[in-house]
């Protein structure tokens, strides 16, 4: 167990576990947290897992830990690690099973007060049109060839089939399509799992949420994004479903042998990896990009059906029920990026697992209207608490490989949450707060109770205080659809 006295405090929001802490560490671990959050973080195995992550071959600079970090398996959820090309490794476990799990935000010109009475119907429509929950299949049935086109084209596939607009794609990370996806490196089983699930939310912590823009902190950025205080927005949180999970499962298994071939010693088998320039590393990269593209398309199709739900419920009642995309961003991903390492621009593979890319102003990959404000960062909270819109900063480029937090972060196990919270009571409690809940199971709802998470506001204040993101707007939920 890592003790607080083993950590060196850098400033109010930053701590370090030095490389000397354990013999096999290749780089130090840098933690963004307040003292109070650190007290929570040290209660699980997050920091041990970050230290284990610091043993990956080819790492540069530091392993970064976000304030919403919690224990995962192998790599902590809320961790960032960069490995140098060409010989550094890529680790599927350091990206996660739900490849390109991410968040999409759509904004509206709908004033909350104007549709308050319609919210229950709107929640019902969203729940009906956006399939969610255990074992739910989607409206689409893809043949294998079509699925392979989704892998290659991502959101562009959705555009071609009428589920997207050009504006949606422009406001999606990588325009919703990673180059280099290779469906031939994806197993038949993964394709079988992915075929019926495109356009589905799944279960667990995934959700669709209607929020009100509660408070604006950065007027210029909010205006560019189309966020208006008191108006509705829609947030979608999900990933690559069984498709991504199977790809990760396949490659974690395959890399069990690869680490032996490349004589890589690791403290945890879930961290298995292969050099980026090896055939194994290249194969995983091609497959992972296919899953990432599937996830972009998945959120795009869900956005399409969410728009239908808004039209079905609100057309004729208000003049403008349309939803426009603010941004779509991944928080489980491996990306080849250039970052400054030891004063030199260096090509690295940034592993973000439960961490969001947060590129600062001037980044050319952003749509022109966002280049002066920085990349939007979407931070979902837990039901009943706030979610946040942030922007990346120049500081995040220097200190966290252009990354920031991804959510509130769990503090309580699912088991304990179910024992502590009764799902039906929680539903009534949230309803009393004016939050309409549609959930596939009450047990599942209890597991995701707000009490099971850290205070998202404290997480956001930490990344803002540390300078690795800037606050734009705080959102407050009024309807939540959960699997």
């Amino acid at each position: 167990m890592v003790r607080l006295q083993d950590l060196k405090q850098i400033n109010r929001f930053e701590w370090e576990i030095p490389k000397s802490y354990r013999e096999d560490m290749r780089v130090p671990v840098r933690i963004f947290a307040t003292h109070q959050l650190l007290e929570q973080i040290k209660d699980d195995k997050s920091l041990e897992q970050a230290i284990n992550a610091a043993t990956l071959p080819g790492l540069v600079d530091r392993v970064v830990v976000m304030p919403d970090v919690h224990q995962g398996y192998g790599f902590p959820i809320g961790g960032v690690a960069a490995t140098q090309l060409p010989h550094g490794v890529i680790s599927p476990g350091a990206i996660g099973y739900d490849i390109n799990c991410g968040v999409r935000l759509l904004a509206s010109q709908i004033e909350f007060e104007a549709v308050k009475k319609d919210l229950s119907d709107l929640a019902d429509s969203l729940n009906r049109l956006c399939p969610s929950g255990v074992g739910k299949k989607g409206h689409l049935r893809l043949k294998i060839g079509e699925l392979e086109r989704v892998c290659k084209d991502g959101s562009r596939w959705a555009l071609k089939h009428g589920y997207a607009t050009e504006a949606d794609l422009r406001r999606t990370e990588e325009q919703g399509r990673l180059e280099g996806a290779d469906p031939t490196k994806i197993s038949k089983r993964a394709k079988e799992r992915g075929r019926p699930q495109l356009g589905t939310l799944g279960a667990g912590n995934h959700f669709i949420e209607i929020d009100i823009v509660d408070q604006i902190f950065h007027q210029e950025a909010a205006q560019v994004m189309g966020l208006i205080e008191g108006y509705l927005v829609l947030m979608i949180h999900c990933g690559s479903r069984g498709f991504g999970h199977q790809i990760c499962t396949d490659y974690v298994r395959e890399f069990q042998a690869a680490v032996k071939r490349y004589s890589i010693q690791l403290p945890d088998r879930e961290l298995v990896c292969a050099p980026l320039d090896s055939p194994e590393g290249q194969a995983y990269l091609g497959a992972m990009r296919g899953a990432a593209n599937y996830a972009f398309a998945n959120r795009q199709v869900l956005a399409h059906f969410a728009r239908q739900a808004f039209e079905e419920t609100l057309a004729g009642k208000i003049p403008n029920w349309h939803l426009h995309q603010v941004y779509d961003i991944a928080h489980n991903m491996g990306k080849i990026e250039t970052h400054e390492v030891n004063g030199k621009p260096t090509e690295v593979c940034v592993h973000r697992k439960g961490a969001t890319r947060a590129f600062g102003p001037g980044f050319q990959g952003l749509p022109p209207e966002y280049r002066s404000i920085g990349q939007p960062v979407l931070v979902p909270g837990s039901m009943g608490t706030a979610s946040w819109v942030l922007v990346g900063t120049a500081e995040s480029m220097k200190r966290s490989f252009g990354s920031t937090c991804h959510g509130a972060g769990r503090t309580m196990s699912r088991r304990k949450a179910k024992k502590t919270v009764w799902g039906e009571d929680l539903r009534k409690e949230l309803q009393a707060q004016g939050i309409h809940i549609r959930a596939g199971s009450m047990a599942g709802l209890a597991e995701e109770a707000p009490q099971a998470y850290k205070d998202v506001d404290a997480v956001v204040e930490t990344v803002a205080g540390a300078g690795i993101a800037r606050k734009v707007a705080r959102l407050r939920p009024v309807a939540v659809i959960k699997g």
Binding site: R189, A203, G242, H245, Q256, R269, E270, T411, S413, R415
Partner: protein, 138 residues
């Protein structure tokens, strides 16, 4: 003595996912308990009829990988066909693992296990029993 009476499973606390500790006097019973524990975690309830049997055959590389492969097969059968199993006939023959498993369609499943991880997976001997800890991604 019946190996079932010396075997079992229990859930251990895990912040975000699910961890199961499984024990048994032999490998086949350990695998069976792992499967039963996994279904218990997702609160799988089967319809009573019709009973359905499936065969699974896997190559043995090492026991830990085999255990994960076996559970991954079960997850796939749940996701693709809506099946879960409560009777297990598991055999090790040379480098092959042969499972005949009987169960039924799911009446309900309250949670979905999405993957079986390799996190700290280690089948170890403790006295007269085998033990393993398995972390599931949910």
């Amino acid at each position: 003595m019946n190996p079932q009476s010396l075997s079992g499973y229990r859930e251990l606390p895990h912040t975000a996912d699910w961890e199961l500790e499984v024990w048994a006097p032999d490998l086949a019973t350990l695998f069976e308990q792992a499967a039963r524990g996994m279904y218990q975690l997702c609160e799988a309830i089967l319809v009573s009829h019709p009973r359905i049997t499936r065969g699974i055959e896997l190559i043995i590389i090492e026991p830990e990988i085999l255990l994960i492969d076996f559970l991954t097969e079960l997850i796939f059968l749940t996701e693709s066909e809506g099946l879960a199993f409560d009777e297990f006939n598991l055999k090790f023959e040379g480098n092959r693992f042969i499972a005949h498993i009987t169960g039924a369609k799911l009446e309900s499943l309250s949670k979905e296990i999405k993957a079986v991880t390799y996190h700290n997976i280690n089948i170890r001997e403790t006295g007269s029993e085998l033990k393993a800890n398995i972390v599931f991604d949910v």
